[in-house]
Amino acid sequence: MIRFVTSRLFRAGLTVLSVMTFAFVVLRMSGDPAQVLLGPDVPQNVVQDFRDRWGLDDPIWRQYLSYLQAMMQGDFGLSMRDRSPAIDLVMQRIPATLQLTIPALILQLAFGIPAGIYAALKQGTLADRSVIVAAIVGFTVPSFVMGLLLVLIFAVTLGALPSGGASSWQHAILPVLTMSIGGIGVLARFSRSAMIEVMGAPYIRTASAKGVSWSDVVRNHALPNAAVPIVTIVGFMVGSLIAGAIIVETIFSWPGMGRLLIVSVTNRDLAVVQCILLLVAAVMVVSNLTVDLLYGWLDPRLRQTTSAH
């Protein structure tokens, strides 16, 4: 188990390092970093100052190392717009994004998984077919269409909810819904097929033949096995939530990280973009790591891996 954890941690570290390296390379390739980060109208002495401070005249490997060192210390450079540290700008926006993504994730888990499991246990019935159809509609309609549709219904027609902004908790309802619907669909469909597969497994028949009651068969024998594939998809969904945040925050003018990213890209505010990029990468790595560790916890077979011949 310790070896399993260390090997996964090692891999996660490696991923973060390669993302940082990637950012370094991209930044160097997109022109003189001093010019890019400071902008064109900065006096020469400031540029030289910057070059000295960042060691831009040093050999490239030295630059790479000090870049990594700066990253480790949380120094992500300055934003072009107001010269404040990029990290601060991004940090300010994180709570707003979390206000959308965390409720959205909770909704996805709370509705997607139970709906899928329910459909699986009622396989072939009307209830099952309704869940499948709803799920397919949920994840095939793109989130910008879904968002506009919701705005049309709840804000424009019914006038029940605000269509944009962030001044009250009611403002969060439509963006959270928009973000979660696709994920609920994906999770429902995936949980359904995972559960159907598990319910057909020989060990489920064994448990029934042993005299275990049906509800205990589902709870104690089927769910722990179905959890493994479901956890995988949840890991992926954390990533798609971030992508969703970019679109949804733009539609609903929500002052989160996603909108900051769009604005920064348009303004070529590379320090901020880079900072968000690394943050997203870190989130992905952490969620993957969590999934891997959960795997090991859920499925004893994965704790020891024998490589293929």
């Binding site: 070896r3 399993f4 260390t6 090997s7 090692f10 891999r11 020891q304 891996t305 024998t306 490589s307 011949h309």
Partner: protein, 327 residues
């Protein structure tokens, strides 16, 4: 004249490691196997899971390369896997697997499956190819109206006939069959066993028949090699192996086959687990499960020695009268 197929001291090593950072360890799946198959002869290879019999089959075809030793066909060394020479050799050596559904392409019809080897090896024109397809279909007991069927429309036995027919398309000299009848029901199994026996008899095919089913092996094979943990522990004519096995493992294996009319008490029931190739015991690999094991077996690997007419066995006691009394 050199034998159709000869293997000398074949070794196949797999590397396994525990975990990403675990230390790799070598598993000798096949460990110094030598055998010969003459023209028109069927050699049975029997053994339990982990005995290396399937790895051996893949090496005989050159699909897996041997880490040690060499395979010769008609006295010539096996060409490198994937090379043009190997490909043309494959027309003369064909393989039949256990699961016919997996071996067939489910999207194309029986006739197309059968024509494929001729297309690959560019044999004949399209008319003569089709004629050959029909000829071979009839010879394996398929009806011509089944030519347009797809694999899923056929029964298990018919599918295996298609697999055999496909193997015969290029008129091979040698068939390597890995558990070809294990997935079939008893009544169908007999049909396929008879078919293989007829083919071998009529065409003078050489055959390597890998199976855990001793009854089928006895019925079909001229000679039998018994494998245990990657080595041949006994080899000889089928009749001798089954009526007078020399190696204690062969004795137990033969004895473990249930036979109506033989009391259960007279059987040798081997204790312990099937062997793990990753953890080969020192000395004779069979000694932990052997009722005959003595001190010498625990530290000295037994030489393969002659044990009767055309028989060889790797046991310190093979050929001794005392052992025969135990059987």
């Amino acid at each position: 004249m050199s034998p159709l197929l000869e293997a000398r001291d074949l070794v196949r090593i797999y590397q396994t490691r525990r975990g990403l950072l675990g230390r790799p360890s070598n598993v000798r799946a096949v460990d110094g196997v030598s055998l010969k198959v003459r023209r028109g002869e069927t050699l049975g290879v029997v053994g339990e899971s982990g005995s290396g019999k399937s790895s051996l089959g893949r090496m005989l075809l050159g699909i897996d390369t041997a880490q040690g030793g060499a395979v010769y066909t008609n006295g010539k060394a096996m060409p490198v896997f994937g090379s043009p020479e190997w490909r043309s050799l494959r027309a003369r050596i064909q393989m039949i697997y256990q699961d016919p559904l997996a071996a067939l392409d489910r999207r194309i019809s029986v006739a197309e499956q059968l024509r494929e080897p001729l297309d690959i090896h560019r044999i004949g024109d399209s008319e003569s190819r089709m004629a050959r397809v029909h000829e071979v279909m009839l010879s394996v007991g398929l009806r011509l109206d089944q030519a347009d069927k797809f694999p899923h429309e056929l029964s298990g036995g018919q599918r295996q006939r298609v697999v055999i027919a496909r193997a015969l398309m290029t008129e091979p000299e040698l068939l390597v069959c890995d558990e070809p009848v294990s997935a079939l029901d008893v009544s169908i199994q007999a049909q396929v066993v008879n078919l293989l026996a007829d083919l071998q008899h009529d065409r003078g095919l050489g055959m390597v028949f890998i199976s855990h089913d001793l009854k089928v092996v006895r019925n079909l094979c001229d000679r039998v090699a018994v494998m245990y943990l990657g080595r041949i522990v006994e080899e000889g004519p089928a009749d001798t192996i089954f009526s007078d096995p020399q190696h204690p493992y062969t004795q137990a294996l033969v004895s473990s086959v249930p036979q109506p009319g033989r009391a259960l008490k007279s059987r040798i029931i081997l204790q312990g687990e099937p062997p793990n190739p990753g953890n080969r015991p020192p000395g004779c690999a069979f000694h932990p499960r052997c009722h005959k094991a003595e001190d010498i077996c625990r530290h000295t690997v037994p030489e393969t020695r002659s044990a009767g007419v055309e028989c060889r066995a790797a046991c310190h006691f093979a050929g001794h009268a005392s052992l025969r009394e135990l059987a």
